[in-house]
């Protein structure tokens, strides 16, 4: 962008979320939408993360607590099933892990560089509450 003087900026901007006309966005899932380049969906905040959530579907009961409380629309749920984590938009807050009710948890935080297969292979077993 060329440098502009203090009084030369546009006073307003209109951005389109999608390419072309849309109807019933509320009934169209992300994979079926034609996002414009101005939609933040096309951007990523993956580099914000220090830790990432890893999902182990063996223990998941599809309660959807992670879906409702994820601030960043990063828990992908389809047909009432938890499918996985959207790693482009997850900021690594850890809320999904905190609210996951299973024992052992179906989501756990690992350092960003952890290999997912290794994490899954060494998944902790059920906590019994005994010392």
């Amino acid at each position: 962008m060329a440098n502009k003087g203090w009084d030369e900026f546009e006073i307003g901007a209109m951005l389109r979320s999608f390419n072309g006309p849309v109807s019933d966005v509320a009934l169209t899932h992300q994979e079926d939408r034609d996002y414009s380049e101005n939609n933040s969906f096309t951007a990523s905040v993956a580099d914000w993360r220090i830790e990432k959530p890893v999902f182990n579907k063996d223990y998941c009961i599809d309660c959807q607590f992670c879906w409702i409380y994820c601030p960043d629309i990063s828990i992908i749920s389809r047909d009432k099933k938890m499918v996985g984590v959207d790693m482009d938009h997850c900021k690594g807050c850890g809320i999904c892990v905190e609210v996951c009710p299973t024992n052992p948890k179906s989501l756990l935080m690992y350092s960003e560089q952890t290999d997912e297969e290794e994490a899954l292979a060494a998944w902790p077993s059920k906590e019994t509450g005994e010392k």
């Binding site: 951005l15 380049e37 905040v45 309660c63 879906w67 997850c90 900021k91």
Partner: protein
């Protein structure tokens, strides 16, 4: 009136297609977006939205990006409510004249604003919207502080809180005044519905939002928004902190009908 979306349980709710997007710049763990998601997902109707200046607006409309998949406008700190009221007035006028392009659609009009933008700086604009009887909902993202500018007190900051302009320490225990009773003030406008909600109690919140969207006339909602940065807690604890606040009745959930 359009049909109310059926949300029997969380599994059914999770089939919603979000109209709010990630890669916005809100802090990790920010409750603002949890509130916005629960509101937007409470209906399938078209939405006309606004946000007043504050964390939500600043972080979801960073040029050249928008995180909103519905009509959305930002003007200033004080006038998000009147922007939506203006759109609603235009909608009514076009409807009366039979000039709506899609007369079968019944959009919902919702304005989002922080506590600073609602309790203090946009106060008279919101009062005007409520008094004139617009068919709209104003939702406060109440983190009880001016978060976006570094944690100054607002008239929503409760007594005893430590804000950057009312710090607790050797001289003072912090904020000295009680939180402004905004819900009572709004209810005194004789609006059909005013309610206090919190995103951790999603079922209660969604029920209240759906009721508010269904009634004819202005609706005022005060939503508790736990702020990881200014309340100084670990981002992973947003829900447990919220549970503490609602379960202890520090932040009571209630509604005022008619």
């Amino acid at each position: 009136m359009s049909e109310i979306k059926k949300i029997k349980n969380l599994k059914e709710f999770s089939t919603s297609a979000d109209r709010f997007e990630g890669a916005n710049l809100l802090c990790p763990g920010c409750a603002h977006s949890i509130i916005v998601r629960e509101v937007l997902n409470a209906t399938n109707d078209d939405l006309i939205l606004s946000a007043s200046t504050g964390c939500l607006e600043v972080c979801t409309a960073v040029y050249p990006y928008t995180s909103w998949d519905a009509s959305w406008i930002h003007i200033g700190f004080e006038n998000g409510s009147t922007a939506v009221a203006g759109a609603e007035a235009m909608y009514k006028a076009l409807k009366t004249k039979g000039r709506l392009k899609q007369p079968d659609r019944e959009p919902k009009f919702v304005s989002f604003a922080g506590d600073g933008a609602s309790y203090d700086i946009g106060f008279q604009w919101i009062s005007g919207c409520m008094e004139r009887g617009h068919n709209m909902m104003h939702i406060v993202l109440d983190n009880e502080v001016y978060a976006n500018t570094g944690g100054q007190r607002s008239s929503s900051t409760p007594i005893g809180s430590s804000a950057t302009t009312s710090p607790a320490g050797r001289i003072s225990y912090g904020e000295k005044k009680n939180k402004k009773d905004m819900i009572s003030i709004m209810a005194a406008h004789q609006i059909p519905y005013a309610a206090q909600v919190a995103p951790n109690k999603w079922k209660d919140m969604v029920k209240k939002i759906q009721h508010g969207l269904a009634v004819e006339g202005p609706v005022f909602i005060n939503a508790m928004s736990a702020c990881t940065t200014e309340w100084k807690f670990d981002p992973k604890d947003t829900m447990s902190i919220s549970d503490l606040a609602t379960d202890s009745l520090v932040f009571p959930l209630y509604e005022i009908i008619d």
